[in-house]
């Protein structure tokens, strides 16, 4: 899961109403199609314009149970705002900023229940009449929780199995807290759990458990996210001081939470001690690499360098994230990739020096790259330039080359997977469970669906939420979706 944007530009209610007033209120609005969760943007924006904050928050929540979280982290520039018809006129409506304000003001009303109560108050009638159906959900991240909410609101008996000790998944794990404060996540997760979803934390689902879940439930929704970070393959990657971006970001968030800080990522020290005075090299050009680089810069690293084998043009990170990194003082070394991670003794590989992994990293040996003809991704393929090696000093190296799917779950449920290890699903998210996951001759009682990063390989929170919702609807037999809601037809999902 990669999340970058934070709508920290706070508009005053009057400014927001003025911006919202520019909304054209399009027929069959393109922004709604740009939103994976199908939030009825024009309807909520018009409510912002009229000062109906509670109504606006309710419209958002109807489509996105993580509306407050997404209001913080959704890359609206790349989604709804990109589609906005006003983009052809004076500029798109700042939908993300309006959503954040709508959420803050729309949930601010309740007092006794605090934020959690206020969020829950907005919800549909979750947990009403029992449907007699049971669902098991593996993974308490946004996809799993979204699916849980949808099924619970249809009267299902829902249990979530979470491997870690608390719900939230990546929301409470790797997304930097300067983007997403824990309180926001806690309120939304809390409201879902409060609706009667059973949550079992610290439970790893293996083969046996999978078998039982398939036999005892009407639906099993797998939303277990991603597994380990992809290795780069250069010698010395196992040295102390070379860490995966996920681990680095998680420790940064944890550390910040302990300090009770709220605005910066000063706690990123967790991964490699205090970053003050340290040189950090981030390997990779995706949004997670940008997060890691900005987090390191915020943790007072002396110098943060992003190493990417192509150029800014081919970099998968969004322009906004790139700009954010530049603004944080991050340096970029284009057309370069690590060929070895060295320690003080210049010992390559493991097995010598201090322990099996070698001594702590002190430098990255890099090779220059040149761009050639487009590869399968459509981007120019980088190839090494012979004899171009050079060395940069590094006290901490953060590997941000992406993560693979959670193989443990793919294997436990015997899911058919593609070459990248991702489970293969139909458009509703339904997966195929191979017979080897079940006792001989026994068919799965449960329909099995995959939602979130486990299937997508790592995408946005809003996409995870949307997939969780879709899987739940498919499980409830509601897909293909019923006719578009309302006469306006602006919600085509």
């Amino acid at each position: 899961m990669t999340e970058r944007v934070t709508h920290d530009v706070s508009l005053s209610p009057r400014q927001a109403a003025a911006e919202a007033g520019r909304c054209l209120f399009c027929y069959d609005a393109p922004c709604v199609k740009g939103c994976p969760a199908g939030v009825d943007v024009p309807v909520f924006v018009k409510k912002v314009a009229s000062g109906n904050w509670r109504g606006a928050a309710r419209v958002i929540r109807e489509a996105n149970v993580f509306g407050g979280t997404c209001a913080r982290v959704c890359p609206t520039e790349e989604l709804c705002e990109k589609e906005c018809s006003s983009g052809l006129l004076g500029g798109p409506i700042p939908i993300g900023a309006l959503q954040r304000l709508a959420w803050e003001r729309g949930t601010a009303g309740a007092t006794a229940g605090g934020a959690r109560g206020a969020v829950a108050d907005l919800g549909a009638d979750a947990g009403t009449a029992s449907s007699g159906k049971r669902a098991a959900i593996v993974g308490a991240g946004p996809a799993g929780l979204s699916a849980a909410w949808e099924l619970r609101s249809r009267g299902w008996d829902v249990t979530i199995y979470e491997a870690t000790d608390k719900p939230g998944g990546q929301l409470d794990w790797t997304i930097p807290s300067y983007r997403l404060p824990s309180e926001v996540v806690a309120a939304e997760v809390g409201a879902i759990v409060a609706a009667g979803v059973k949550l079992r934390t610290g439970v790893r689902v293996g083969r046996e458990a999978a078998e039982r879940l398939l036999a005892e439930n009407d639906a099993v929704i797998l939303a277990a996210g991603l597994g380990a970070g992809r290795p780069g393959g250069a010698p010395g990657e196992g040295r102390p001081g070379v860490v995966g971006a996920e681990e680095f970001l998680a420790r940064a968030r944890e550390s910040r939470a302990r300090q009770g800080g709220s605005t910066c990522a000063a706690g990123a020290a967790g991964a490699a001690g205090d970053l003050a005075g340290k040189r950090v090299v981030v390997v990779g050009g995706g949004n997670t690499a940008m997060d890691a680089a900005v987090t390191a810069a915020g943790a007072r690293a002396t110098r943060v360098t992003v190493l990417y084998r192509r150029t800014a043009r081919e970099m998968p990170a969004w322009p906004r994230e790139y700009r954010g990194a530049l603004a944080a003082g991050v340096e970029f070394l284009w057309l370069a990739q690590p060929v070895a991670f060295e320690d003080a003794g210049k010992v390559e590989g493991g097995g010598q020096g201090a322990g099996a992994a070698g001594g702590p990293v002190t430098a990255v040996r890099c090779g220059r790259m040149a761009l050639g003809a487009p590869d399968a991704s459509g981007r120019a393929a980088p190839r090494p330039v012979p004899g171009s090696e050079f060395t940069i000093e590094a006290d901490l190296v953060v590997m941000a080359l992406g993560q693979g799917p959670n193989q443990e779950i793919v294997e436990a449920f015997g899911l058919a997977a593609d070459r990248a290890g991702r489970p293969m699903v139909d458009p509703s998210g339904r997966a195929q469970v191979s017979v080897r996951a079940l006792p001989a001759g026994q068919a799965s009682k449960a329909k099995v669906f995959v939602a979130g990063d486990l299937g997508s390989g790592g995408a946005t929170v809003v996409r995870a939420v949307a997939e969780g919702k879709k899987a739940a609807r498919a499980a409830a037999g509601e897909l293909p979706p019923s006719a578009p809601r309302g006469e306006q037809g602006s919600n085509g999902r």
Partner: protein, 407 residues
């Protein structure tokens, strides 16, 4: 050659048609002097009365109307006449006439009885004013004392009062400021004409109530938990003012000074085309200062030049022949809505508008481009008002074979 902006109104020459209306901006000589220096041709000093007429103001006295990002679409005020003593007003007149002999210095007066009106005329005339405007039109505060619009809404009282003033004035022309709050404003103008007074000013503010505070339930402006009706000015009232000026110009042969929602030279040109000879401005000056005169005169001069007119006089009343009764409108021309596909932003707003507010004549396909069905379109003209892109959705003569040709 640059066109002349000079205009004669009620025998008084104005170097351009732009006049500062009786308002806060003309409540002291220093302000008016700055206005004159900026280029205003004349000023009507804030309304004054006799000493016995006590002015008790209540604050706050103003509140604006916002629409989306646009502030001050309209302004409501519960201001009254000037608090300044008539002695001070006389001093201001003397100073201004001395410093700005070519500018028109007018006084606005309001009295409760014949003797008051006569005294005011005598004193101000003696002080040297070029013109006297009488407010028969203030919609708040004064009517409950039998003044302001209480006079203007009664044609007999209007005629009688105007005659007092006109008879008292030995030297200067007298004009009467009318209220739009009357069934037929031409009737009021006719009453002024009968009185012998020289001209009319149309219109004073519209009586209104700007809004209600949803938390306190007190309407705006909130004066210690209470409110009252006020006078609405600003861009929003321009259509009412234009209509009033046109109605007077078409029915009564009397010079008109127009006011009500003038924000740019374009607005002023519209009033002139409808028969006004001068144009008074208040709200826009209060908002953006005396400096707004620069573009008003510059824009109007360029417009006259572009249109081949040598003076403002040639513009006056040019639109009036185009106004007829509804029954006299031609019925044989046909127009249809037309969408420029190059400009369309594919928002579908016109589609919804025609579907729910018109004749279901706009189609909206998978390509999100609006298309007009000329068989269904009656050319009502609503959809162009909804299009967020200017000049994208327009009315055009119907295609050959679709309806009848435009005459």
């Amino acid at each position: 050659m640059a066109a002349s902006l000079s205009v004669v109104f009620c025998g008084v020459r104005f170097e351009n048609p732009f006049v500062l209306a009786a308002a806060p901006s003309t409540d002291n000589a220093d302000m008016v002097a700055r206005g004159f220096e900026a280029g205003w041709a004349g000023a009507i000093l804030k309304t004054t009365s006799v000493e016995s007429e006590l002015v008790s103001l209540a604050y706050p006295m103003m509140v604006g109307l916002d629409i989306d990002t646009r502030r001050l679409v309209a302004l409501e005020n519960i201001d009254l006449i000037s608090e300044r003593h008539i002695d001070q007003v006389e001093k201001d007149v003397r100073r201004l006439k001395k410093e700005f002999p070519k500018k028109v210095v007018a006084a606005s007066i309001m009295g409760a009885k014949k003797e008051d009106w006569e005294e005011l005329v005598r004193r101000l005339e003696a002080a040297g004013v070029d013109l006297i405007e009488c407010s028969f039109s203030c919609p708040h505060g004064m009517p409950e004392k039998g003044m302001g619009s209480a006079v203007g809404q009664n044609p007999e009282l209007t005629e009688k009062t105007a005659r007092w003033v006109k008879d008292a004035a030995k030297r200067v022309p007298v004009i009467i400021k009318l209220t739009p709050q009357i069934a037929d404003i031409a009737v009021a103008a006719e009453a002024v004409k009968r009185s012998g007074a020289d001209g009319v000013t149309a219109i004073n503010t519209l009586k209104g109530l700007m809004g209600v505070d949803l938390d306190t339930f007190v309407p705006y402006p909130n004066v210690g938990g209470y409110s009252t009706y006020g006078g609405i000015s600003g861009p929003a009232i321009k259509p009412v003012a234009l209509r009033c000026v046109a109605e007077i110009a078409r029915k009564v042969d009397i010079p008109i000074s127009a006011t009500g929602g003038v924000t740019t030279w374009r607005d002023a040109a519209e009033f002139l085309l409808l028969g006004a000879r001068t144009v008074q401005v208040c709200t826009e000056v209060m908002r953006h200062g005396f400096r707004v005169i620069e573009d008003m005169t510059d824009g109007l001069a360029n417009y006259l030049e572009d249109k081949g007119f040598s003076s403002v006089e040639e513009l006056i009343g040019k639109a009036l022949p185009h106004i007829v009764e509804h029954s006299q409108l031609p019925r044989d021309g046909k127009v249809r809505a037309h969408v420029d596909p190059e400009k369309c932003v594919r928002c579908g707003v016109c589609y919804v508008a025609c579907r729910d507010g018109g004749h279901q004549a706009i189609e909206f396909g998978a390509d999100r481009l609006a298309r007009v069905d000329e068989e269904k379109c009656v050319g009502c003209g609503f959809c162009p008002t909804t299009c967020p892109v200017f000049d994208c959705l327009t009315l055009r003569p119907a295609s050959a074979g679709k309806g009848r040709a435009v005459s």
